[in-house]
């Protein structure tokens, strides 16, 4: 009898905890789910009186779609630069024995985790200023690339280390040049690693606020993260139809990317790949 009571209490406690967790995490998200489709969007989340009119307001805003294009440019540019530079470096470091290689990687990884955009915002701003990279998308791309490269090299070197060298040796026996080997043998073999690093970089840049906020002046160049912030901080009453639809549109790629990665590679835990 006693155990029955205890078991019942335990189940009630568990159910309460799970409901509380569900409520806590769902509550802020309700607004994002309902408001974009509400014919009279308010600040409180409520079941919508369905309409798609809000999306028309979004299309009419001159900055909204432009900023998403800027986000794509920044994310794609950074991902391209990170993947190419990291792949070259990781491959060379994996296959050619260089003295002090492991210490070098170790120090780079340590530096990238302590010299964050937040801690180093003053020198990074002044560096961009002196290199005339203020208000330049290239400047944002270069700064972000510098911060993401150490982790990307580390990941890709790990990946390359675990692929056998026999393909490359076989190709060499048949007289392929090193660059041919790289293009036709190595890249296909490490392609999943390249894709992982690419997606990871895009996810990092897509949500990043600080660097574009710091380094870009012209609102025409600002990515979605910064434009979103200006939508609700500048100019009186926040334009809720615009903010809600823009939030949804800006968030969708992240969710799609996440679903793609978890479906494709299975969701496995890689200690601390985010950020």
């Amino acid at each position: 009898m006693n155990t029955l009571v205890r078991e019942t209490l335990r189940r009630i406690g568990l159910a309460t905890f799970v409901s509380a967790v569900l409520g806590f995490f769902a509550l802020p998200l309700l607004w994002l789910a309902f408001t974009p489709f509400d014919s009279s969007p308010g600040i409180a989340a409520s079941l919508p009186d369905f309409t798609l009119h809000n999306f028309k307001i979004l299309m009419d805003n001159p900055y909204a779609l432009e900023s998403l294009r800027n986000s794509v440019l920044l994310a794609a540019g950074t991902a391209l630069l990170v993947v190419v530079c990291a792949a070259l470096a990781a491959y060379a470091l994996s296959r050619v024995r260089v003295p002090g290689r492991d210490a070098l990687l170790y120090v780079l990884l340590l530096l990238s985790s302590i010299i964050t955009g937040t801690a180093a915002m003053v020198p990074i701003f002044l560096l961009a200023f002196n290199l005339h990279l203020i208000d330049s998308r290239l400047g944002v791309i270069l700064v972000l690339t510098g911060g993401l490269l150490p982790a990307a090299i580390f990941l890709l070197k790990d990946f390359t280390d675990s692929t056998p060298t026999s393909y490359e040796e076989a190709a060499r026996v048949f007289g392929a040049s090193p660059l041919q080997i790289l293009r036709h043998v190595v890249v296909p073999v490490i392609r999943p690693g390249l894709a992982t690093v690419g997606v990871w970089t895009v996810a990092q840049v897509w949500g990043d606020f600080l660097m574009p906020f710091l380094l870009l002046r012209n609102p025409d160049k600002a990515p979605a993260s910064v434009i979103m912030y200006t939508f609700y901080t500048e100019g009186g009453q926040p334009d809720l139809p615009l903010i809600s639809t823009f939030s949804l549109l800006y968030s969708l790629p992240v969710v799609v990317m996440y679903l793609f990665v978890s479906r494709r590679y299975g969701f496995r835990f890689h200690g601390g790949i985010k950020r």
């Binding site: 630069l81 060379a92 470091l93 955009g117 911060g147 949500g207 993260s225 200690g271 601390g272």
Partner: protein
């Protein structure tokens, strides 16, 4: 980060016999080409990561400003900025708020909630588990400026969902309790990492141990203390340090409160932004930057040490098994 636990050079030596037979160079790259491959990455890292950090040392000793005479010809002022920072009342408050933020939201909030969710969900499958995990992950992956507005809307004084739900119209949460709001927000935002990490760690606890504890009539707390904690101890310390580092460097609270009202939620990352770019005192801001980098360095060094210890302990435990 797992590779850091075992010396990579040894692994390479063991697995790299094929590479060694080709002179450690399977594709016939040669030292010259190898250097050319590594160079672009190293140049970018040197210019945009290492140089700014070193430059901070110099900038912090100047009276560099954003505008005016000191903008074009900064003067050397020695250690004065550092003295000013360490004596600044705003700095002390910011340090204290940052401590509350890191301890409250990351060390206590995210870790306890993340572990609790992982523990409750450990032997569940199906709908409820999928929904809980999806919501927690969504809070983690959505862009910072979007979730910041979601919380501003939730906590809004006049029409916010929270006030409607609690029946407390007119309560200005962000003005009355800005720091508490930012802490709860960050628990919401960052719990996913702890949930996944402890979920994976709990998978390594042998089910037979839990079964034995249950048959012996152990309470949940006893089970956690005696059967679970010893198995996941290494993960707890390293994850605590990692999320502390991230939380310390988080700029998202700026998007919600911008440090206000009246600097009452001005954590370190917002403080450095306000002094350097808001007030234009770049030299002074650089001195704060250096303090932040040193704090990061301290956390990172303890982290690496903890990883090494864990690697050593795990390899020691693996030998008799």
């Amino acid at each position: 980060m797992a590779p850091l636990t075992s010396p990579p050079s040894e692994a390479a030596r063991r697995g790299g016999t094929a590479a060694a037979s080709a002179g450690g160079d399977a594709a016939g790259l040669g030292r010259g080409r190898a250097a050319a491959f590594v160079a672009p990455a190293l140049v970018l890292i040197a210019v945009f990561l290492v140089f700014p950090a070193l430059w901070t040392l110099y900038l912090g000793t100047t009276d560099y400003r954003l505008t005016g005479i000191a903008a074009s010809e900064p003067k050397f002022v020695g250690a004065r900025n550092y003295g000013d920072v360490l004596g600044d009342g705003d700095f002390h408050r910011s340090l204290w708020l940052t401590l509350q933020f890191v301890l409250g939201s990351a060390v206590i909030g995210q870790t306890l909630l993340g572990f609790a969710i992982a523990w409750v969900m450990r032997d569940r499958t199906g709908f409820v588990r999928r929904v809980v995990e999806a919501l927690v992950l969504l809070a983690w992956i959505l862009p910072g400026s979007v979730i910041a507005f979601l919380w501003i809307a939730l906590l809004d004084r006049d029409g916010g969902t929270l006030n409607a739900l609690l029946g407390t119209p007119g309560t200005a949460w962000l003005i009355d309790h800005p720091m508490a709001c930012v802490i709860v927000f960050n628990v919401w935002h960052g719990t996913a990492f702890s949930m996944m990490l402890y979920g994976a760690a709990l998978g390594n606890v042998p089910p037979s141990h839990l079964e034995t504890a249950r048959l012996a009539g152990a309470s949940t707390l006893q089970t956690l203390r005696d059967a679970v904690f010893p198995r996941i101890r290494g993960h707890v310390l390293t994850s605590l340090l990692l999320i502390s580092l991230w939380t310390f460097n988080d700029f998202t609270p700026f998007l919600i409160t911008a440090g206000g009202p009246d600097k009452r939620s001005e954590i370190m990352s917002v403080y450095v932004y306000r002094t350097a770019l808001g007030d234009g005192r770049l030299g002074f801001g650089a001195a704060i930057s250096l303090v932040m980098i040193l704090i990061n360095l301290a956390i990172a060094l303890v982290y690496l040490r903890a990883l090494r210890e864990r690697g050593r302990r795990e390899s020691r435990e693996a030998v008799p098994a």
